[in-house]
Structures are given as structure tokens and as C-alpha cells.
Symmetry: C2
Amino acid sequence: MSEARTEFSVVGKRIPKLDAAQKAMGRAEYIQDKKIPGMLYGRILYSKYANANIIKIDTSKAKALPGVHAVLTGEDVPPKMKMGFIKDNPPIKKDRVSSFRDEVAAVAAISPEIAGAALSLIEIEYEQLPGVFDPEKAMEKESPLVHQHLKSNVLKMPWDIHYGDVEKAEKESAFVVEDRFTTTWVTHCCLGTSGAIALFDAANNLTIYSNTQIPSLAQKDFLEALKSMGIENKRVRVIKPIIGGGFGSKLDTYAYEHIAILLAHKCGKPVKITFDRVEEFKATSTRQPTVIYIKQGCDKNGKLTFRDMRMVLDNGAHTSWGATTPSVMLMPISSLYRVENVKYVAKCVYTNNTYSQAMRGYGNPQATFAIESSIDMLAEKAGIDRIEFRRINKNQSGDETPQGLKITSCGLSECIDAVEKEMNFVDKKEKGVGTGIASLIHVGGGARIYGSDGCGAILKMDDYGKVDIFTGGTDMGQGLDNITAQIVAEELGLGAEDINVVHSDTDICPWDVGAHASRSTFVAGNAALGAAKEVKKKLQKFASKILDAPADEIEFKDKLVFVPGDPEKSMPIGKLLRKAHFSPNGTMFMADYFYDPDNQNMGNKLKGNMSMTYSFGAHGAKVRVDEETGKVEVLEYVAAHDVGKAINPLLLEGQVYGGVIMGLGYALTEEVILKEGENMNANFRDYKLFTAKDAVKIKAPVIETDDEDGPFGAKGIGEPGCVPTAPAIANAIYDAVGVRIKNLPITPEKVLAALQEKKKRPAN
Amino acid sequence: MSEARTEFSVVGKRIPKLDAAQKAMGRAEYIQDKKIPGMLYGRILYSKYANANIIKIDTSKAKALPGVHAVLTGEDVPPKMKMGFIKDNPPIKKDRVSSFRDEVAAVAAISPEIAGAALSLIEIEYEQLPGVFDPEKAMEKESPLVHQHLKSNVLKMPWDIHYGDVEKAEKESAFVVEDRFTTTWVTHCCLGTSGAIALFDAANNLTIYSNTQIPSLAQKDFLEALKSMGIENKRVRVIKPIIGGGFGSKLDTYAYEHIAILLAHKCGKPVKITFDRVEEFKATSTRQPTVIYIKQGCDKNGKLTFRDMRMVLDNGAHTSWGATTPSVMLMPISSLYRVENVKYVAKCVYTNNTYSQAMRGYGNPQATFAIESSIDMLAEKAGIDRIEFRRINKNQSGDETPQGLKITSCGLSECIDAVEKEMNFVDKKEKGVGTGIASLIHVGGGARIYGSDGCGAILKMDDYGKVDIFTGGTDMGQGLDNITAQIVAEELGLGAEDINVVHSDTDICPWDVGAHASRSTFVAGNAALGAAKEVKKKLQKFASKILDAPADEIEFKDKLVFVPGDPEKSMPIGKLLRKAHFSPNGTMFMADYFYDPDNQNMGNKLKGNMSMTYSFGAHGAKVRVDEETGKVEVLEYVAAHDVGKAINPLLLEGQVYGGVIMGLGYALTEEVILKEGENMNANFRDYKLFTAKDAVKIKAPVIETDDEDGPFGAKGIGEPGCVPTAPAIANAIYDAVGVRIKNLPITPEKVLAALQEKKKRPAN
């Protein structure tokens, strides 16, 4: 759909987030603000143990508390109401709990305080059982089973891939490196905590306000929930209020939503459940902790010969989308740099820990941490400059990778150039200072991980040239509202302020698979552009009669409809619209469009072109390591990305800055500490969220490669900012002080220990 | 668009109002229920006099009251902010008040109580002036001028019509009758009182929740209001909550809406204004009181020869749509029964009374009261049975009336037959019992009183065969939601419960001129049908490939897509939809349609076919008159209507029953009593609203004439129920006791006085 245009009126402009003022002035209505007359407040009771049998629950005292409308236990949950990717998780557990996060009861009351008091009146007798908290241990035969009815803690998943011939390639390699890396739990830390309000109308149709990134898929989940409750052939309306961050955390439906539905139905009143910060830390999902074994080789010229990776993921006690991240990890494993022979085995393992979920990058940060750390080690072993090494192996337009990814536009080379230009990789003026680089590949043109990767858009114009567009795409703060408005405005010759973007309401907005995989600018952008083109065609046809000119010669700019070069043939668009509207048999202009990319569902063999295009990037970091304390200070950071086309550079930079900061937290400080499954640091301070105070100045060169399928050439860039950050930092630390930290986060303790270890080692 | 179909699955079914249970269970959110965080409450201070100069306003005490956020007077209203049909009415008056209803100040405070207290602290010094309260007096030269800057109290309007040659026809007539009729103020008595909430976003875009029948035209008014405030190029979103009755009362924008906007802008907070019942009576508009002079003649065979009518309307102090009712009165005057020669002069006159507004029938009940009373008198004079007389002159398909109305489908004759069949007009078993009949013509296929008579619809389907349709049409309790759902369901072979009708939100719903002129079933119905046909075409095209059959052979019924007669070629619609959706390059089905009828704007000569079709009806009443008390009891009532096609007979009957009850109130009891402009009976009891207790059993035969332009043959029937009720009752009273009451309402006092007067008269 590329226009190969060079002149733009609205696209490419730094237009502030359309709802920025609303949010800054405190006028945005978050789920916390929303009240519905008659609304009750729900609260959830969680397990006291990581693994236990529930012997007895006595809710009589809770039920007797004045103001309590309902108390639910596992007995009240329809047997078929299950959540998650493989539907292994009932919203309230009945006989057995498998993690501290497991829900055991829920209450609805006239105030959150009374609901809380009622929870404390629920008496539960448990029989505590030994748990398993390490995924590699959980794979051992003698390990306790998290789910008794399954014969193994290892999930049945298809990741045992072999492209080319890795054994042969290894034998023929000049240099080979091999190592083990680990990453731990981190979490999204959305500033807006989770919440939902469920209400039924008199006909048992459900409306649910929920902090979700997937209104359409959530609608499907809730339809199934209703079905499990015996409510069939009814409607579900999902409305996503303004949310304070998503980052993948809201890519599934959760217990609190299902419990709100059950309570609302039981009470015949709206029921709201919102999390406080502690609950947000303890009862929402994390990024998957991974144990990664990697071996890579190259020939004597530095050309990569093979990559062999084995991965063990901690799934936690239940299964959500996090369990599918190995499919996305496959992308960098198979396709970051040209490498013909690839082997990849991943195992996702049940433990009695919290269960994991999608998080920005969806496995890519974990995989790229290992790959790009290992690439530096391999380059060093081969005696080739690390940047040169990457150039030798860079992806290029026209490539098809072993996995079957078709590389169309590709600016990886330019990204590496830009990082090198912005940061001096050679001169180290100070002791303890070093530089690092790491690259990334990510889906940039959708990702067919579901039957449809599509998005619909509907558009209508008023009598003055204002547009309402209903998009399936979900703005969750990332700026899809601006992107949509700018694309439509550009196409119709209007201003962004003329475009009203309606999103996140399944009654109004067409279907969309959800805000994930950095797909919204590309897919929802193409849907919006498609609708704009449709309406433009209709406008041209009508204007053709009015301006007495061929339809295809009529252009739109600055709110004018005109024939270029013929000043007589020009009319304000509002006038044209009113001319069409205000006469017998009049008309107004509307259009719809459904865009579904022509990308491939990889299937069980995990081969196929999962995205229409891929985003590339290279990050460079300069750090100073305090050898006394092990503390790492980031001095400079460059994050160059191939974005196809920057629809809005201001928001794009915001995405990149935010991604890098998230990546720095992942690299250096952030960690959910679980002790035998129990959260030990459920607050921002002890979690060590990377804050504004910790932030560094980031340079974000933008490489535009005009992708032929992207809307005005754009590709997705929502996730990449956090993908190669950890290895860039790890590589810079190694460059600075010669120690390689292989376990995230790279805390001062780990650096100091490594430095001390290094001192003990004899120099080679 | 007629289908000339005889078999229907959903159309024609008695499906209860889709939101009935919500309303019955108290879950419907009316404007009174709606709360927005931070919302303030506005209240309005009205004039103490019918006509006065404002010498001084002191708001200092009101402003000093804790909790008061703003106090407005006429000084705070932008000079260009004017309301009404000819923009003669600022929302707060400055130097002069012209009616008791005139707004002189307004307050916003943190509670309605504080706002009320603040009103009582506003000190105003008036100079009282003599007023004029009778429209005929107001036409006299020496009468005080309501608006000083105008040279006359008579509005400049075009109603001086002469079709044919009335003078000649009168001379040639065998029989002529002539009389004077009057009607007084009645009001809509909506059970939901008026109200609005205005709020601005950070960018000065306005959202206004308002009880309106005209979301799109209100949006235009409010855009102009913003412009007058210096706020240009912003968006206005009008959302109509569920409203408790419209009946024409909400066909304009009002002071309370403009004041809410001014207060919300001044305070930077949402401001809500709702009326209590007293305010609803005193500060909302009435039906136009009229003085009607009518002369009609017929030849010796009873064929009408001419109709000559002169009308004086009390406009009140300001001008709203009520002032245009003479244009609609022209319809029965020119076109109820065949009459070639018509003269019509109407004058709309300013007085210091409350100003009038559209009300169900829009002038037609007033005109028809005079016409149909006079028809009975003429029939009697000519010695022809009153029913026979009507048959002689009945309208017929193919007629073009003097005004230029093109009579397409016409069931007047069948309506008269049905009334005669249902009610015995001949036998009078009791003393004081009599029967009466009266007919009606009304617009039934839109009414082009504005540049566009159009309505848009947008439709989308999900993966299971559920539909969301956004209609421009406004459901205000009359049942447009059902009508829309049934039409769409019929066309797509679905159930009404599968169709979700979204209406009354200008951001979401396409444009529509408003819920007036009984146009919604016809115009919004055709828009919905058009969108359904569009989407059906797309579905057929796709199904053609799947079922391997020509697209036009594929039909839709019972949620199946199939080729009739070929059982192999059949598929559940949900399956078809999912087949289309869930594959690369997939699609979903959406469509839009804008329907604007091909009817004519009458222009200044008031000639043209204002509607695509016309509804007809005949009402029969049997009454008993108590000659001791003058009290009239309605014993039987038959209301037969030509509705084209009953999309939903249950709701249709509801419309007719409601119309007749409203008409009976108009005929017998209801009256706003103004004493020198001041409301004397601002409550239901003293207003004598016709209540459920007063209701009579109504038979409502439905005549279906399958209109060729109506959706599935339907025409509009919202207003007709109350049009011929008063003359049917008046004619029955005359039949019962020989007195003709020419002034509405026909109170026992008037009947008794007439009976006494009759006794005094020598028998002739």
C-alpha cells in the first residue's frame, strides 16, 4: 500500500498525543474513576500457599456481614469456565491451589472496605503440599506434578525445530561459542492497575468495561464464559476505558474479569473489581523467566554458520499467552542476522510460581539477550570487530530466512551505521567505561498468531469535513489515535484535528485481533487508510460532476478539493459535502474497510512468513562501571530503528524512549523476587522499577525504508525499543571491565562478584 | 423499495420493545440518573413578569454563596448566541423580558440545592410593562409590540395560498358552511422532564448529553453556539440518553442547553441542568393555540367544491418550530379529501405568552379539528350521511392534490370501512349517546422541511451472525430500535435479538434530520434496509464462491445461507462469516447506506410533494353525554390507520393507543391555563392530563397498503393517532345531544353551557 510519497501534510508531523491534555488535566476516565449507579465492589481472596489442597471453606461469616451481596468459591464457578491459552485455569480454584496467586474466593459488597472485611471472614482449611519452583527441576521425573492429571510438568508444545544441518555446520565452523544465559521474572508495572466492571442488562446481555488490549478476543472469551454459565445467544460488549499502560499484560482475560461477571450475574448489579498496587504485583502475570543454552559458530571470515539454542521457560502454575512466546523467540533465533542452520528446542514447564504472560517483545528480549551477548563473544573469538561482525551477517532486503520470513524493506545496516555515527565505539577516555551494541529483528507488519490478523475501520464524514473513524485498533496510550488520525487526514487532505478516532468498544468498532506484536500502526493503519481511500473514491466521483473533471484527477489538500493546475476547479471540502447532502436524494459519505495482511500462520512446522514486514534496529550503549561497587551507570544510549516511515516522529520517539527505559530496567534493576513462589517485593521500590530519575538521555535516529506494504510506508515499532537493550548493556559492561554477566538483571552484586571472580582468575 | 412480499419471518411480528425490560426494571439511564465526576448543577431564574424592562441585576450575593461556581446574566451571553427558527431568542435575556418564561439569570453550583438558594439571592429590579396575550388583539395596530425593533407582532411568513378559484367555487356550491373554531395551549407532558449535561474536553470540544429528538440538528445549533463564544473548528458530540417521551417537545434546542454550555465552559466542569415538573410545565413549549375560520362548500351530490381557511396562531414571545406548523396544516387543508379549490391564510402572531413548539401532528390536529367538525356540519346541511359524505370525497391512489401532494398508496376508504365495521353508527340505544367519525391525512414517507430529509445507517456483522447497526434515527421510546432491528433481521435472515441498534450519538451514528413528521420508520427504516441490502450483496458474493451458486440465487433465512431447493447448498451464516474472516487476506462484512427520499421542499409557493407517501386514517367514537353535568364519557373508540405495512403490530398499536389517548386529552380535558401569560396550573392534576384511569378501550384496525417506497411497504404512523380524535369526539357529542363545541378542550362546563344555550333557542 506504499505511496512512495515524499511530500506530506500531516503524516510525519510531531503532533502531540490527541488525549494528552485530557490526561494531563486529570479528566481522562480510567476504570478507577468509572462509577455506575448501583455498582457493587468485588474483591478476591488468594491462596495462602504455593501448593495445597483445600480441605474446607466456610463463608458463612462473610455472607452474614452487612453490605455483602455475594460470596463465591470454586463451587460457584461453572465447571466449563476456564481461562488461558489452553483453558487450564478456572477463575476460582476448587480443591487445589497451585500458586500463591490462585483465587480461592471472591466477594461483592457495597464498598471495597466491606468487601475486604468479608474476605478476612472467610475461613479456609488447607493441606500444604511440597511445590516445585525451578523449571529445570520441574522437568525431572521425581519432581512433584503441578497438575496431577497431567503426566508431566512440561507443556505439550511444538518447538523442536531444525532448519538446515546444524551438526554439519558446527563441524565446519572456524569458531564456536557456547554458553548459558538466564532471565528472571519482570512485570509490566502499568501505572494504571487492572480493573473491570461487569454488568448485565435485563436480557442477560453483558457489558464489561475492562482494561484489555484485546477487546474482540476478550469478547469471545466472555461469550464462552456466558456459555459456561448457561447463557447462550446473548451479546457481550467490551469497552476498554483509557488505560494506564498495557505492554502485553492485558493480552488475555483474567480471573478478576470472570469473577466480576459471575458476581454481577449473581447480584443482578454492576460489579467492579480493581487491583491495588500490591495485588497488581502479586496477581498479574510476568514476563517468562528463561534458561537459555546457546551455541553459535562462524567461518574464518566471520560469517555465521549455525545457531543452536535450547530454552527452558517457567510457565508458572497456569497457562496464558506467555506459553506461546517460544514461537516468537524463534524469529530472532532463526532470523537475526543471516544464519542458514538453526536448531531450536524450547520447553515450557509448569511450576508453582506465578504464571507468565505476554510482555513487550514477547520473548524476543530474552532470546536477543542470549543471541547478542553470544555474538559479541563469537566476534571476539574470531578476532573480528563486533560491529564489523554484525555487518558481515546483516539481514538484507530480499532475504528469506530459514524460518521462511521474507525480508522486504530492511534498514538494519543503516541502523548500525547510525549507532556508530552517534556513538564513539573506539575511544575510551576513562577507566571502567565501555561501549556495546546489539541489533534486533521484530515483526513490523502484523503477526498471524491467530486465525485472523485483521482490523476493520468504518469512517463517516459530516457536512464540514470532520471525520469520525471507528477503528478496531486499540489505543492504550501508545498513540494509535494519532496514527489513525494522521493517516486519514493525510489521505483526505484534512488536519489531524478534523479526525475523531473512536476505538475500544466492540459494539461500535470493527473487529481487531488486538494490540500486540507491534502491529497496530501497520494493520490498523492500513485499515484506516483503506477506509479513507474508499471514501475518497466516492468523493472524487461526486466531485467529478461538480468540478467537471475526471475523478482520478481530483486531489485533496488543505481542506480543498481541486484539480491541480486549474484554479477554477477547486472547492472547500465542506462545501462539496453539503452540496451532496442537501438536495433531494442527497447523500453523505461513509466507508468501511477490513484489512487483513497476507501473512502466514506458521503452523506446527513453525515455518512461514508470519509478518508482512520486519522492523530492524541497533542499539548502542556507553556505560561506566564502578569497580568498587559494581554499579553500572549508562552514559550514552543510541537506539536506531528502521520504522519504514515515521507517521508521527514525536510519538515514535516516545515509544523508543519508553522501550529503552523498560529495557534498561530489564537489564539492570528490575526483578520480581519469588521465594518458593511467594512474592517478596510487591512495591515499586523493592521491585526497583527504572524510574524517571534513573533515565538517561537517549538518541533515537529514525531510519525510513518506505515499506511497500505499510501505510504510507510505515511499520510497527511498539516493542523493539526494549528488545536489544539488555545485551547492548551487557556487551558494554564487558567492554568496560571485561566481565560478562549472563543472568538478568545485571545488579551491582552480580557485577562485583564477577569482578572479584575475574581477579581470582589467572590472566590468559 | 417495496418488496411486495407476503411471507415474513421477523417483520410483522409482535416483538416487545427491545429496551422494555431495562426500563421496567429501573435500569435505563435517563438524564436524571447520569452523573459525571466533578459535575456541577445548573439552575435557571425566570422572569417575574410577562413583559418588563430589566433595570438592574445584582448577582453579588449569589456569587458569594459557598458552593456557587458561576452566575450568568444576559451580559454573559455572547450577542450572537440566539435560538429558534428565526434566531430571535437569546438563552438569557438582557434588557427586556417578554414572557414569564424568559430566562434572566443562571447559576452553577455543587448541588442543585445550593444552585436554587443562589437563584433566590439574585436581586432584579424590573419596570413592568403592559403585555398582549391574545393573538387577534396582538394583530391590532394599537397593540403593544412584543419586540420593539419589529414593526408588527405578525411574523413574516408565506402562508397566503390560493389553489384553484375559491370565490367561483363558493358561488357554484349547493351548500356552504362557515364557522370559527379555537384550540388552546396543551403541552407534551413527557414523563421524563427536560435536561442536559454539557462538558468540554481539554481542547474545547463539547460533549452534550441532552434530551433531544434531533441529535444532528442540535449538533449544528451547538456548533453555532460555540462559534458565538469564539470557539471555532471544534467538535460537538450530542448524545441523547434514554428519554421519557418526546412528542415534538425536543425538536429544537433550548435555553437550558445553551446555558449548560455557557456554564460548563465558564466553570471548566460538566454542568447538568434538569427540570422539575413545575419548570417543565412553565418553561417548555406548548402546542400552538389557534383561532380558525373555516368555510367549505359542496355541490348537491356532496362533492366538496372549496375550502377556505384563515388561521391565527399564538406564537408566544419567541419563535421556534411551532411557527412553521401552518406549513403542515396546509396538508390537511389542501388535501384531506378531494377538494380542488383551496384558500388558506395563516398568521403567526407574537404575544407575551409562552412560545409554542412542535407537538405530535404539528398543526394537523388543530386544522383537522376544524375541517372534520365542519365536514359533519356540511354533510348535515347537504342532507347526506356523514360517512357517505366522506366516501364521496375520499382521497384515492393516483391523486395529485392542489398542493401537489402525490397520493400513492391510499387506504382511506378501507379505514372508513373498518371504522364502520367495528362501530355501530346507526343504532343509538340510549339517550345522550352518539357516534362520530373523522379522517386524517398525514405525511407517511418523510417530510422535506429541511435541506435534507435523509438518514444514514452503518452496519457491521460479527463472526456469529450478530449485527451492530448505527442508525441516524432517534429512538425516543416510539420503538425505532425494534423497527430497525426487525427490518435488518428480516433482510438478513436473522432474529431481531441478533440486531443491536445503536442510536442517538452523533459521534457514532450517521446524520439524520430528526425524529419528527412520523418519518423514522419510513426514512430510518429505508436507511437500515439499504445498509442490510448492501451487506447482503457482499455476503451473497462471498457465499457464491463457497456454495458454488450464482450470487442472486442465494437466500438468507433462519440464520442459514442457502440456495432454495438445493439442500446441499446451505450453511449457517456464522460459519460463512468465520470462513470469510479466518484466513489470510480475510474479510468481515460491513456496509453503509444513506437514504434521502426524493420528496420535494415546498418552497415559498408552498407547492410540492413534501412526502414520499401519505398515511391515512379514520377514527370513530361513541360517547355518552351526561346532560345534567355536561360530562362526556367515551364508550367506544375505533382508530383505523393505513400504515402501509405493520413492521411490528404491537408497537404500532401502542403508537395508536398513545396517540388516541393524547387526542382524547386534547379533545376533552387538557389545557395549559395562562392568565396574562402566567401559568396557573403547572401540575398534572390541574392540567388534567388524560391518565390511564381515563383511558378507554381502543380498537385499532390496521390497513396494509404495501407502499411501494416504504421499507417492506411501511409508512409512518407516529403522529396520526392524535390527529382526528378531537373532531371524532366533537362530532359524536353533536350526534349525542345536538350541541357542537368549537373550542377545545370540550369541558363539561362548555357542554353544559351549550346544552343550556340550546334549550333557550327555539327549535327550528
